[in-house]
């Protein structure tokens, strides 16, 4: 059947199209850096974690605040520029909480939803008039294409909670914009804060890539700090100061953050090329204890914080 001339047929190279992978700072880079094993199994290999209770507080706060922002902006035929009332906030909570439960995200304890409700009401009552008029956008998407040190093309993306207008323009006449990110916790002191700062540096970089200039300020807002006696009586601006951390926009630090980001992309890409059984091994360095304690794979992990022994059920 095949005698001569077969060599005039072009020899095909295997067509393997490399699809650009997408990397987010929180969902990929920080997750991977904290624990490659957890990241690999739950993000890449699609195991589904048993309880997503630790997400509940953060999710409900973000979603309700988003609804409050939209309300202020006049969505759903609201009068533009009005803050939602306590009853309206209750409605937002009911909708969001029901929806989160249908997504499988339930509070770990009964008091959690009430606490979130109390803090959000306080936030809107005390700080709403100060912050909401300045909101430029919420859930603002930032995305860019980049190439890692090893020459791998990828897409870097992130979502900024809130962009705020600033009345003045900067020296170059650029619009002044602040990036705000809400965190559910109190102001932490450990590596959590470092990671938040890392995240904000990456956002600053993304922002500059898109707009040509850095944001004027980058602010982390810790909702948990609202939970103090006496907050009710504080002036709005004092309360604000109590809850926020300003992140330095230092070009050098941002460069370091981006380098770390790229290095991690390369490490993950290398990991993906390893033989299946050698992928996603745990780090020698221990992840934060609270991460291990809620991990569904802690009993078969060679590097847990302490050794976990399975009890029944």
């Amino acid at each position: 059947m095949f005698e001569n001339q077969y060599d005039v047929v072009p020899r095909e190279d295997l067509e393997l199209v490399d699809i650009l992978r997408r990397y987010s700072i929180v969902g990929d880079i920080i997750s991977y850096r904290l624990c490659p094993r957890q990241y690999g199994y739950f993000k890449i290999r699609n195991l589904v974690p048993s309880a997503q209770g630790q997400l509940f507080f953060g999710e409900i706060i973000h979603n309700v605040l988003d609804k409050a922002h939209l309300h202020y902006r006049g969505n759903n035929n609201q009068t533009e520029g009005t803050l939602p009332t306590d009853e309206e906030i209750d409605q937002f909570f009911n909708i969001v909480s029901k929806a989160l439960k249908s997504q499988g995200i339930r509070p770990l304890s009964g008091g959690l939803e009430e606490r979130a409700r109390k803090l959000i009401k306080l936030f809107i009552r005390k700080l709403g008039n100060l912050l909401f008029p300045r909101i430029k956008d919420t859930e603002h998407k930032l995305e860019m294409q980049s190439t890692s040190q090893n020459g791998i093309d990828y897409i870097l993306h992130g979502i900024v909670d809130v962009l705020l207008h600033d009345a003045e323009t900067d020296r170059d006449g650029n619009e002044s914009v602040e990036i705000w990110d809400y965190k559910g916790s109190r102001i932490p002191e450990d590596c959590d804060l470092d990671n938040y700062v890392f995240q904000m540096h990456v956002y600053s970089h993304l922002f500059k890539e898109k707009n040509g200039y850095y944001p004027k300020q980058v602010i982390l807002f810790f909702i948990g700090e609202l939970d103090n006696d006496g907050n009710e009586n504080l002036e709005a601006s004092d309360l604000l100061e109590r809850c926020i951390k300003r992140v330095n926009i230092d070009e050098q630090q941002i460069k370091i953050a981006m380098k770390l980001f790229e290095e991690t992309v390369d490490i993950i890409e290398d990991e993906l090329k390893k033989p299946y059984s050698e992928q996603w091994l745990p780090l020698e360095k221990q992840p934060p204890t609270n991460m291990c304690e809620t991990c569904d794979l802690r009993w078969s992990c060679s590097n847990p914080n302490g050794t976990y022994r399975l009890s029944g059920l």
Binding site: M1, F2, E3, N4, Q5, Y6, D7, V8, V9, P10, R11, E12, D13, L14, E15, L16, V17, I19, L20, Y41, R45, N46, L47, V48, P49, S50, A51, D66, K67, N75, N76, I95, V96, K98, A99, S102, Q103, G104, D137, E139, E143, M144, Q145, D153, I155, E209, K210, G212, Y276, S277, Q279, D296, L297, R298, W299, S300, L310, S311, G312, L313
Partner: protein, 751 residues
């Protein structure tokens, strides 16, 4: 930016390094026309291997670089997520090449913000972004989860007195569904079709036919329960999107809002238009109507001859009748361009394809194909000394398999010149079959023959998940914990009524688990976990609730060796992932924590055990894990690839072997539903006869299979008796008489 069109073409060619290549590798006139076309509706008919993705990619870049269209103003849909990623990757690649050649600065354009994806994924993103109230935070269910939802909440699939009568089913199906899972499958198909075919439910309700009136009520019950439970399925999300387009949020999305930084949609491009369904067609047309400029910039691309998905509600008629539809809606004619040149296949194969599709009597009927379609022109010159088309038949399936295996071995080893094989790698040979099951009826005998010749085969879709013994061990361990008493064996139990199939399955899982315990594998930790868990149940008080959920127990089990070792196995680990997400979906619908039985001190509540067996195990066993079957697999080097016709869509291989082609087309469930619901559509349509549609669909499927081949196309089955649907007719409309010439006698090459 503002390049002229000429500058664009010139710069692109330089950036892609085409400048010094022969003209054969440049764009042809039709491709160029399709790229150049700017304003108004455009209808691109693109045959196999005609370079349509290339055209779409150039077109996107031209819109951005010549016409200054913001990437976010372009809405592009493809049939699969993978196709979308491929297209975006290519756009970015070309754009980067332009940047690197100094033609553009990367920072000018945010090309990533193109709105590209499947229509479903874009609906999901856009509805979420717009915080559309009717969608906000609804849980979008996948196929399996939808089945669980049907099992628990949907009245239409109930049995006995609580569900529809036999007369009801009789109206829709040729056979009354025989168990709950077959009722679920049928109800899903019927209810989804009502949504996707844009059926007027009021009209259905006022029909004189009882079954249709009942169906309308079932449909409404389904919609209400979806709403109540904050859920959405893949058909309903499109219905919500259509409603969105008619609300202020949807208008803002299409027409933009400067104040809020939302650019308007200006161009809509739809790939694979032959596989859209009526509701999708309506979405595209309504979006086009909303575009502010009134330019009606809708481009559809597709090939009516390659439509494959009627069984999922696709209507090839959307593409065939595109021109008349556009005229009716927008009072203008679309520009029609046919990409005639085939850059993929050997001339003999291209000629064969032309005659196959043109001469089939059912394809000659009015409305079967796009009007005035011209035959393909072979654009690549391959010189080969073998017949690019061969036919293998005779004897039993085993004999056919033997001959096919000999031929594959020849292609791989090229005995005439072993140092220069015909293909570089076995993965350049694909076997397409109606089913990929390695049973004696399908690819089984061929796989055996290939293995005997040391030829490796990649057939990831072969074994079903429930046939994997590792998976059975895992489920076996699980049921040992929750049901030590083995309820599936209690015949007099009227709480836990389990179907025989499921009973057998659960039993076989227990057996696999026992076998594992008695093997040499170390199972100490596993046994201990199972024992301690059983003890916890035993010691608990009546009705006591545990913290544990099914999903949690499942995850703990996979921490025990040998299950934890399976996690690093490339075949088993993805299956454990599927079971885990299935478990999460199941738990989200059957929400509860484990509770001790009040009558049996070694068991949790019996009805929950029953639910678990019937619903979760039933889904694995009978419901079919479509997600799993549908999953896209990579082409694995060093292996001959086996896949179905549908899975081969969009791919190409140097050599293609078509197996099990002796099917006699007859109308199926989807054809009869289409006919049945036709009078109730909100938009009037005329359908062809069911028999014709059935044959046309088969012919299109074979056409897709045949057109994957570059240099070699091989047909194989036991005999010729009903081959006309796969081999076709000659130009005079007679059975092909050139077939004997193409027969391969099957002897191994003897030098």
């Amino acid at each position: 930016m503002g390049w002229t069109e000429d500058e664009f073409f010139k710069n692109m060619e330089i950036a892609l390094g085409w400048g010094d290549k022969s003209s054969a590798q440049k764009l042809n006139d039709e491709q160029k026309q399709a790229i150049q076309h700017n304003i108004g509706p455009l209808w691109i008919l693109a045959g196999p291997g005609s370079g349509k993705t290339e055209v779409l990619v150039w077109k996107l870049l031209k819109l951005v670089l010549v016409h200054d269209i913001e990437p976010k103003s372009i809405f592009i849909t493809t049939f699969t997520e993978k196709a979308a990623s491929n297209m975006l990757t290519r756009v970015l690649l070309y754009y980067n090449k332009l940047v690197k050649s100094g033609f553009s600065s990367a920072k000018d354009i945010d090309i990533n913000s193109l709105r590209i994806g499947t229509l479903h994924s874009l609906c999901n993103t856009i509805l979420s972004e717009s915080r559309y109230e009717n969608f906000h935070a609804k849980r979008l269910m996948d196929e399996s989860e939808t089945s669980f939802f049907f099992y628990r909440y949907v009245k239409m699939c109930r049995g006995g007195k609580n569900g529809p009568s036999n007369d009801f089913w009789d109206h829709f199906l040729s056979r009354i569904p025989y168990n709950k899972w077959s009722r679920i499958q049928s109800s899903k198909s019927i209810l989804f079709r009502l949504t996707e075919d844009l059926i007027d439910i009021n009209k259905l309700e006022s029909s004189k036919i009882n079954a249709l009136q009942d169906l309308a009520v079932f449909y409404e019950q389904y919609q209400e329960i979806l709403e109540e439970k904050d859920r959405c399925d893949y058909a309903t999300i499109q219905k919500i999107f259509l409603k969105f387009l008619n609300d202020s949020e949807g208008k803002e999305f299409v027409q933009g809002n400067k104040e809020r930084d939302i650019p308007p949609i200006r161009y809509i491009l739809v790939d694979e238009y032959q596989d859209t369904n009526p509701i999708q067609e309506e979405i595209y047309l309504q979006m086009t109507e909303l575009i502010k400029s009134k330019e009606h910039n809708l481009t559809v691309v597709g090939d009516d001859d390659q439509s494959l998905y009627r069984f999922r509600g696709a209507t090839v008629e959307s593409l065939i009748n595109f021109s008349s539809e556009i005229e009716k809606r927008f009072k203008k004619k679309p520009t029609k361009i046919q990409l005639k040149h085939n850059y993929r296949s050997h001339k003999v194969i291209v000629d064969w394809l032309n005659s196959f599709i043109q001469n089939m009597p059912e394809m000659k009927k009015d409305g079967a194909r796009a009007p005035n379609k011209e035959p393909m022109i072979s654009a690549k010159q391959f010189v080969t000394d073998w017949m690019p088309i061969r036919i293998i038949s005779g004897g039993r399936l085993k004999d056919v398999a033997n001959k096919v295996a000999n031929l594959i071995s020849n292609i791989l080893n090229n005995p005439a010149n072993p140092n220069n094989p015909i293909v570089k790698d076995p993965s350049q040979i694909a076997i397409l079959s109606y089913s990929t099951r390695e049973s004696s009826r399908y690819v089984g005998p061929l796989v055996d023959e290939l293995k005997q010749r040391n030829i490796k085969v990649y057939n990831p879709r072969n074994r079903k998940i429930h046939e994997t013994s590792e998976i059975k061990q895992l489920i076996g361990a699980f049921v040992e914990i929750i049901d030590e008493t083995q309820h599936e064996n209690l015949t007099d139990d009227d709480v836990v009524r389990i179907s025989n199939d499921v009973k057998e399955f659960v039993q076989s899982c227990r057996v696999e688990y026992c076998k594992l315990l008695s093997s040499n594998v170390n199972t100490d930790e596993l046994e201990r976990y199972v024992r301690v868990s059983q003890k916890k149940i035993f010691k608990a008080k009546e009705n006591e609730k545990f913290d544990a959920t099914f999903h949690r127990i499942f995850l703990r089990l996979i921490n025990c060796p040998p299950f934890s070792d399976y996690l690093s196995d490339p075949v088993i680990s993805p299956r454990i992932g599927i079971l885990s997400s299935l478990m999460e979906g199941y738990s989200s619908i059957y929400q509860f924590k484990l509770q001790k039985s009040s009558t049996n001190n070694k068991s949790i509540k019996r009805n929950r055990i029953g639910d678990f067996y019937n619903v979760y195990c039933g889904q694995i066993l009978i419901g079919g894990l479509n997600d799993f079957e549908d999953r896209e697999y990579p082409i694995v080097p060093d292996h001959v690839q086996i896949m179905t016709y549908h899975q081969a869509k969009g791919l190409e291989f140097p050599f293609v072997i078509l197996l099990s082609i002796r099917k006699k087309p007859k109308p199926g469930f989807s054809h009869s539903l289409e006919t049945l619901f036709c009078p109730y559509r909100t938009k009037e349509v005329t359908l062809m006869l069911e028999e014709d549609r059935a044959i046309q669909d088969y012919v299109r499927m074979y056409y897709v299979g045949q057109s994957r081949a570059k240099y070699g196309l091989i047909f194989a089955d036991i005999n010729f008796d009903i081959w006309t649907y796969s081999l076709g007719y000659d130009n005079n409309g007679d059975k092909r008489n050139d077939i004997n010439r193409l027969i391969y006698n099957g002897i191994p090459y003897d030098g």
